[in-house]
Symmetry: C2
Subunit: 143 residues, 2 copies
Amino acid sequence: MTRIAALALCLGLAFAGSAMAQSKAAIQKLEDGWGAAFNQGDAAAVAAMYTDDADVLPPGQDMVKGRAAIEALWRQEMAQIGDVKCTALDVKPLGRRAAREIGTCTFKTKGQPPQEGALKYAVVWEKSGRTWKLLTDIWNTSK
Amino acid sequence: MTRIAALALCLGLAFAGSAMAQSKAAIQKLEDGWGAAFNQGDAAAVAAMYTDDADVLPPGQDMVKGRAAIEALWRQEMAQIGDVKCTALDVKPLGRRAAREIGTCTFKTKGQPPQEGALKYAVVWEKSGRTWKLLTDIWNTSK
């Protein structure tokens, strides 16, 4: 094996899979799945989109860690709000197995009358096996 | 060059530098530098710790992008609060040139009488040349 061939092999290994799902469109699909699960009230399905050791940092509450705590958090939020729709504004790949996304969400409260709300967020996605999962999730409001 | 030697070279290249400054202790030093610059009222020095295209998502305000806007944001915050001390709670390397940190900060308001405050945050660090810079910065309060 020549040095050139070895280098080509190195580069091939280094870049294999680098054209994977870190595009904004691919991340938006994941967000759409998150929103659909949330709006169906399926807290387990929402929680399944997080890594085992994920951290969620909700405003007005302490941070929560791990899938069971995250499922409980989202079940509690589902009692308060619905019609959640999140839009990825920027996705930045971080190496080959992670990405940072920022975006905004709109939602409606479940009170009478329902009120419209909005928030902005930053999340980190991590590739877990062949699946992208949320490692960190934090948001706040602009007003 | 044998295949074994080529593989060893690949692995050497792949892991070179992987033991770099993504440890919690190293990130805490960066946070200490951030806090020192903030508490000295040096908004330019704080802003210099962000990448050119960084996003900051402050609660109660729209997100800001880029170093000039970030410097203006921190100058405005410095008029309101001081004695900032941030503590890294968890640092997760994301590939070789990025890391996600979560932590908490304490601060004092500049009103009379000063009030103590606290927040939790998530940031993404990115290696820019030989320097670690903040790519994304978002926080909220727990109460």
